[in-house]
């Protein structure tokens, strides 16, 4: 299936595309070097994936699989810099975190990201105030710092997870 045409808009650092149902999206990889307490070669290359639906028509919108392919194509562009690491956080504050996580995992498998040379590591967080969420890091499987990246995520979980 073909991705929609997209364009990087350097002034705001986001990618833009529009679907056949007139829905407009902006995708940003937000610099998030403050998240992992790791060496600069890792921490400075962490970006949070933020997807925003910036305009949509009134009424119901049919499911549109091309959006997935477009986000995948945008991710490929983002990972042209091989050291880049994307972090994606699934909010569970409304109790729908597990469903979001399943959907996100489904995308990763469906779009064969592993076969295309990417690695995803997941971590569940259950903080002291009861807030739960999951965070995933995606990076190129040939990233020479992958062991340190995995360790940094483990350490982050150790710092924030409430012991049972």
């Amino acid at each position: 299936m073909e991705a929609y045409s997209f364009e990087f808009f350097p002034e705001e650092h986001f990618y833009l595309f529009k679907t056949r149902y007139e829905v407009r999206y902006a995708i940003r990889f937000k610099p998030s070097f403050y998240v992992l307490d790791a060496e600069p070669a890792i921490a400075d290359n962490v970006y949070e994936l933020v997807i925003a639906r910036i305009e949509k028509p009134e009424g119901p919108i049919p499911p549109d699989e091309r959006i997935l392919y477009t986000i995948a194509a945008i991710a490929e562009d983002f990972f042209k810099k091989e050291q880049n690491i994307a972090i994606y956080v699934c909010d569970d504050s409304d109790g729908r975190g597990k469903a979001r996580k399943r959907k996100f995992d489904g995308w990763f498998v469906y779009l064969n990201f592993e076969g295309r040379g990417y690695m995803k590591i997941d971590q569940g967080f259950h903080e002291a105030d009861g807030f739960s969420y999951s965070a995933s890091l995606i990076f190129k499987s040939e990233n020479r710092l992958k062991i340190q990246i995995i360790t940094a995520l483990d350490e982050l979980a150790d710092r924030y997870n409430q012991p049972k």
């Binding site: 808009f9 986001f14 902006a26 998030s32 070097f33 909010d91 807030f131």
Partner: protein, 54 residues
């Protein structure tokens, strides 16, 4: 809550809430940018023309 892109000197009490707020803030900023920056609409016009050209 403003979440500046700088190294945290003091870790937030709840990383999750902090990240969620940061994400919502970013989404809001993206929507604002779309409303206020005419160059973004130009990009969409270009994309539209490209789609029609296929």
């Amino acid at each position: 809550m403003k979440t500046p892109e700088q190294k945290l000197t003091v870790p937030p009490k709840s990383l999750g809430r902090w990240l969620m707020e940061s994400k919502r803030q970013t989404q809001k900023e993206m929507q604002e940018a779309y409303k206020n920056n005419p160059k973004i609409k130009e990009v969409f016009e270009r994309l539209e023309a490209k789609t029609k050209g296929i």
